[in-house]
């Protein structure tokens, strides 16, 4: 999303005075430092306040470990499913013209617009003890709410848009000529996708997957509603942070939180790499077109 476009040098008559510039830059830096850098530093500082030993102990403690395990399991299930469906949705929307397409694009965003708490609530209404399938699930002894499947389903709901949202603008921009050319040369559907489409969208796809993963591992509201907070059973990392915090084990809470912070920073580093790679790819393509037109 961030633009890498370099601005041309601007004449003095259409730029601000030096003083205005300095003031605006200082305001921007001040805001980012206070609102964004300070919270990050706080997590690290509070986590390490009582020394490295306490920090490491909080991370290796039994409940923290099982929370980490559940978080990883959830990600391993949710990320691949929503990646596959995200690609399918993006393919349907960008490769064809059909009625109601704009509506579909809007509807994909629904999980973004809905409060995470409501995302949890809907699955309580569906699978909870007095929910629509409550009786059926009880008789067949299937546990969804206050169990791992509930966490997985609520997280699936929350992260539906991530991959599709990254891919749709990218695939729209690339059009369909290359795919059409491949098909007229005799390629089959899957061949077209893996040999033509995928190489074109791989960096955007990677970023969508990483962003989806970050949200899966960090989701709090929706998971909080359906999990039941059973220690060592249905606790994900963010829920574990909450429990520790509410028990006034601040150092431990911030230590576990620092793990999630590392995940966030890792996500943004990948984003930086992806944007750099995309720029390279665009540049190569532009050069190629230039050579073509010259020949």
């Amino acid at each position: 999303m961030a633009g890498g476009k370099e601005q041309k040098a601007r004449g003095r008559h259409i730029s601000e005075s030096k003083l205005t510039k300095v003031i605006l830059i200082l305001i921007a830096i001040f805001f980012v430092v206070v609102m964004i850098v300070l919270p990050l530093l706080t997590v690290l500082f509070e986590g390490l306040e009582k020394g490295l030993d306490v920090y490491l102990k909080a991370l290796t403690e039994k409940d923290a470990f099982s929370a980490l395990k559940l978080t990883l399991i959830t990600a391993l299930i949710v990320v691949p499913i929503n990646t596959i469906f995200g690609v399918l949705i993006a393919w349907a929307i960008t490769k064809f013209k059909f009625r109601g397409k704009q509506l579909l694009i809007t509807l994909i965003d629904l999980p973004f617009a809905v409060s995470p708490v409501i995302a949890g609530l809907v699955f309580i209404l569906m699978f909870g003890a007095s929910g629509f399938f409550g009786e059926f699930l009880f008789q067949n002894d299937i546990k969804i709410i206050f169990a791992v499947p509930g966490i997985v389903i609520a997280t699936l709901f929350i992260t539906v848009p991530f991959v599709a949202r990254e891919l749709i603008p990218l695939m729209q921009q690339q059009g369909i000529q290359e795919e059409e050319a491949a098909i007229s040369l005799g390629a089959k559907g899957f061949q077209v996708f893996f040999k033509v489409t995928l190489p074109n969208i791989k960096w955007g796809l990677l970023y969508g997957v990483i962003l989806c993963n970050a949200r899966v591992m960090g989701e709090f509201g929706a998971v909080s509603v359906v999990s039941g907070h059973i220690r060592g059973m249905t606790n994900t990392l963010p829920l574990h942070v909450e429990i520790l915090y509410n028990e006034y084990q601040f150092t431990a809470a911030f230590a576990v939180a620092s793990l999630l912070m590392v995940l966030a920073i890792f996500t943004l580093v990948i984003k930086g790499i992806v944007e750099w790679k995309e720029r390279l790819q665009a540049k190569r393509e532009a050069e190629y077109l230039y050579l073509e037109s010259g020949a």
Binding site: H13, T42, K95, K97, V114, L121, I153, F220
Partner: protein, 283 residues
């Protein structure tokens, strides 16, 4: 872009998989998103209108709605001001550390809300880094409504910056030139020429931040202190009702919030559609 415009109806393309991908997508979205969300309204319809009215106009509930909307509104306005300045500075000026500032703007997207919540609480609590400075001045943030606003500013800032930034990049330098030629000063050029061009993007960013704010839970619950009638937000009230197994209450409160979210989502799409049309009209 031109080739897309010339393409005929979906069925005539030679690209395979239309029925398969659209069918599977619709089935997945229906089962996972549409039907579950519709349950909120189905369940609400089980209540009589009087019951529904009683639940949603209960003073504590009304106050929670008010707090939710007001804090989201204030945070979104503050984010518009700072978001515009940050986006402007990132596009137009060069200064050391610019790339880092640009990257940091995305932190609220990637950082789990619970982590943001406890970190902000620690900063603004009485003994925190900023709280210990502000509290003696009589400014209380953590466990008071301003705390909610702080959390929502954190959550919302990337929405404004990332919608306004590309529009500033695409601003036509010549229009600003023309304004100067016609004798406008810089400030006048900015107010009369630049700001109107940025307004749709700012409004979209504002709506995105506002919509995110009214649903936000994770970052707010820690810093707000959750006092009924003072710092209790609507999503938390839904949570409380659920914990008391009052599903009807939770669902009715959720239905109102959901309708607000739908309206905002429609508004965002309308704005974005209009912005896109404007851009393609210019090209």
């Amino acid at each position: 872009m031109m080739a897309l415009g010339k393409l005929k109806k979906g069925k005539q393309t030679i690209i395979p998989g239309f029925k398969l991908t659209l069918g599977v997508s619709l089935a997945y979205l229906s089962l996972l998103v549409f039907i579950p969300l519709a349950l909120v309204f189905v369940k609400s319809a089980e209540l009589t209108f009087a019951e529904f009215w009683d639940i949603t106009t209960n003073p504590r509930v009304l106050q929670a709605y008010k707090i939710t909307f007001l804090t989201s509104l204030v945070a979104a306005i503050i984010n518009c001001i700072f978001g515009l300045i940050i986006a402007w500075v990132l596009v137009r000026y060069s200064f050391p550390g610019k790339k880092i500032i640009d990257a940091l703007i995305d932190i609220p997207f990637a950082l789990p809300t619970a982590v943001a919540g406890i970190a902000l609480t620690a900063i603004y609590a009485k003994n925190g880094w900023l709280g210990s400075i502000l509290e003696p001045l009589g400014i209380k943030i953590a466990y008071y409504p301003p705390g909610i606003v702080i959390a929502l500013i954190f959550i919302g800032i990337p929405f404004v910056v990332r919608t306004v930034q590309p529009v500033i990049e695409d601003l036509d330098q010549e229009i600003e030139e023309a304004a100067v030629m016609l004798g406008a000063y810089r400030l006048k050029t900015f107010v009369k020429v630049v700001l109107p061009a940025l307004f749709p993007a700012l409004l979209t960013g504002f709506t995105l931040a506002f919509a995110r704010g009214i649903g936000e839970y994770g970052s707010v619950v820690f810093i707000s202190g959750n006092k009924p009638m003072v710092t209790e937000i609507a999503p938390l009230l839904i949570m409380t009702r659920l914990e008391q197994y009052d599903y009807a209450g939770a669902t009715a409160i959720a239905a109102v919030l959901l309708v607000a979210s739908f309206i905002l989502l429609l508004l965002i799409n309308l704005l974005q559609w209009r912005m896109n049309r404007k851009i393609s009209a210019q090209v």
